[in-house]
């Protein structure tokens, strides 16, 4: 038992360290190409962009979101906003209706159908060559759009993802997420260098409209439509870029329960989308996404689960041992403990764990330095390591459980609903562009 679990431990940590080294190597190789602009600049040409803002029960944050879009440093006549109330039950509609008179803002209200339906409705009303969306819990930096648009000077770039930053963390949990999001900026940029991005995040990813005309509209995609569209683009060899200095601020979940629910949804979505796009895995045609991004995602899911079981197993056997000791000889406090380095763990596993943690902390620091311009340690990094080690296994387990269960029960149902939604949108979009097979 012990030796088999040791072997699995070594294989999984090897793969995890491999992933970190892969990122690090890419970083040292390409760090001069990471573009972080501080000064304002002008574009040669300002192309029309539509930003779709889908919202559901977001009366408190929606105004801030729209205001931040209106404050973008981008010519007013080239920027259009489409705000869609997806059947909110609160005052969202009243709030967004106030923007109706604004010449560049269109507002719509529809029956609740899920975020992807709202996005698709927005796509139908889009007549600019570029389109993006912004979740109603996020705000954009005024320079974000301009900076993103520079990446479209490359005719092959079909979508650009921004850097998402946690807005004003107020507690330890949000602090931990701040560190995580900063690391994600670094990871995403490295993946962009290698053409392996697998998510074009809901907050402010900008696409060429052609993407949707060619590949069809958003899909339900297990509630993670932003992952699915990126995978669909990868499948069709559409280039996705990342703009590290386009900052989008998002409100991170402030309680364990909310974070848990968000992560279950994300990981569930990742697993289901990875299954849907399994043909990409280790397929030579698809490069980094096939050999690195998708496998490393699956490895991290497997590792979190395994490390959790290993920890639980060790902890329980320690507890059993302690209990039986107390039962037999009673509680004894006469344990005159003296430090002897002999009893310091020097097993290979110990050193391997140190390597793993060091590499993760290095990634967190690099992420931070990309955002702040210098390497600086903060407690957020510590919070991240501790909180995520303790909690991640739970949401991963739940996501796997959900994935297995739903695959058995609602597979066909979900597909049917998906296809109905798709068919109607595709017809509409095809009228405007040249839709090919989805």
């Amino acid at each position: 038992m012990a030796s088999i679990s040791n072997i699995i431990f070594f294989i999984l940590t090897f793969l995890c360290v491999y992933v970190q080294v892969f990122f690090l190597l890419t970083f040292f190789e390409k760090k001069k190409k990471i573009l972080i602009r501080k000064e304002s600049f002008e574009l040669d040409e300002y192309l029309g962009v539509t930003v779709i803002v889908p919202c559901y029960n977001e009366e408190k944050t929606i105004k801030g979101t729209i205001d931040s879009l209106l404050a973008l440093d981008y010519p007013e006549e080239k920027l259009k906003l489409i705000v869609i109330d997806d059947g909110s039950k609160d005052n969202t509609w009243t709030v967004i209706k106030e923007f109706e008179k604004h010449p560049n803002i269109k507002v719509f209200r529809k029956n609740n159908g899920g975020k992807y339906t709202a996005l698709n409705m927005g796509l139908l009303h889009t007549d600019t060559p570029f389109v993006g969306c912004l979740d109603a819990d996020s705000f954009v930096d005024s320079q974000a759009l301009k900076r993103i648009m520079t990446y479209f000077e490359d005719k092959d770039t079909m979508a650009v993802a921004p850097s998402i930053i946690v807005d004003n963390p107020r507690n330890i949990l949000q602090g931990a997420q701040k560190a995580e999001y900063e690391m994600a900026v670094y990871n995403k940029k490295m993946l962009a260098f290698l053409g392996g991005i697998h998510v074009t995040p809901g907050p402010f990813s900008i696409f060429r409209k052609k993407v949707f005309e060619d590949l069809g509209p958003y899909r339900h995609a297990h509630n993670t439509e932003d992952q699915e569209i990126a995978l669909r683009m990868q499948k069709n060899h559409y280039k996705i870029e990342h703009c590290p200095d386009a900052y989008v601020y998002t409100v991170a979940p402030n309680s364990v329960k909310k974070l848990y629910r968000q992560r279950v949804r994300w990981i569930y979505g990742f697993i289901r989308n990875a299954i849907d796009y399994r043909r990409l895995l280790f397929n030579k045609k698809y490069g980094t996404i096939a050999f690195f991004t998708l496998p490393s995602g699956l490895i991290s899911v497997a590792s979190a689960i395994f490390l959790f079981w290993m920890f639980l197993y060790n902890f329980i056997s320690f507890l059993i041992h302690k209990i039986s000791q107390i039962k037999i000889v009673g509680l004894s406090f006469t344990n005159n403990f003296s430090f002897d380095w002999f009893f310091f763990d020097t097993k290979t596993i110990f050193f391997v764990s140190i390597i793993l943690y060091t590499s993760v902390i290095a990634s967190l620091l690099i992420g931070r330095s990309m955002i702040e311009g210098k390497i600086r340690f903060s407690f957020d990094i510590l919070y991240f390591v501790i909180i995520y080690s303790a909690l991640a296994p739970f949401w991963i387990l739940k996501a796997i459980y959900n994935a297995i269960r739903s695959k058995q029960s609602s597979w066909t149902l979900e597909r049917d609903v998906d296809l109905i939604g798709l068919a109607s949108c595709k017809v509409e979009l095809a009228k405007k562009g040249n839709a090919t097979t989805i």
Binding site: Y18, V21, F22, L25, I328, V329, G330, F342, F343, F351
Partner: protein, 228 residues
């Protein structure tokens, strides 16, 4: 071209990761061998201590009990036992450690014989327990008994516990097993004051026996003095 550089990257990353793991392996080996050396050093020291005591004992047959009392009460034996036990589950290197364990068993027997002799002459307060267990098969009773003995030794610092692994391949230990007629079906087994006890004995049961044993030894020197 792009694909070729991709493959190169995968291979380079593999070798970097591998070298990191080999470094971990090397470090672990380095520290573990230092630990084994430390064990050897402790054993050598104990061995010298015992030899010195034996020599002292032979030189001065009318030994002054005051001189010898502390030198032979080698607390290092207990420390060595702890480290050996910990090492067996945490260091690996089973061959080296089982060799060290044999050496340790021998030292225990020598210490036992010598201490018994000296104590009987000097009439010091002490109790001996010989403890036989096994590691060859899963023996939960042995683990429990081990805990009881550790706790007892803490409570009575004068108590000397000599533990022997039944499955060890050493003729001296075999001889002990023969003397007390210990069988592997009846493990754990204890020898308290020449009496063989098999199976698990609780803290209370052993404690009462030890107290008895103390009294016995207190009585003996007076008899001897009378006979002398």
């Amino acid at each position: 071209m792009q694909q070729q550089s991709d493959w190169k990257r995968y291979v380079i990353v593999f070798f970097i990761t591998l070298s990191l793991f080999l470094t971990a392996l090397y470090l672990s080996n380095y520290f573990n061998s230092r630990k084994v050396n430390q064990l050897k050093a402790i054993q050598d020291k104990i061995s010298i201590d015992i030899l010195s005591s034996e020599t002292q004992f032979s030189l001065l047959s009318e030994l002054s009990c005051k001189n010898v009392s502390d030198s032979i009460l080698s607390g290092e034996l207990g420390e060595l036992a702890n480290k050996l036990e910990w090492g067996q589950s945490n260091i690996g290197r089973s061959e080296e450690l089982s060799y060290l364990k044999k050496y340790y068993s021998l030292l225990e027997i020598k210490d036992y014989l010598l201490t018994k002799k000296i104590f009987s002459r000097c009439g010091k307060k002490s109790a001996f327990i010989l403890y036989f267990y096994t590691t060859a098969e899963n023996c939960s009773e042995c683990e429990k008994e081990g805990l009881v003995l550790t706790a007892l030794r803490k409570k009575y610092p004068e108590l000397r516990v000599y533990s022997f692994d039944y499955s060890i391949d050493l003729s001296a230990v075999r001889a002990m097993l023969n003397i007390y007629k210990i069988e592997d079906t009846k493990l754990p087994a204890l020898v308290v004051d020449e009496e063989v006890l098999t199976g698990f004995y609780s803290m209370e049961e052993l404690e009462s026996r030890i107290k008895e044993s103390f009294k016995l030894q207190e009585a003996k020197p007076e008899d001897k003095k009378d006979s002398n």
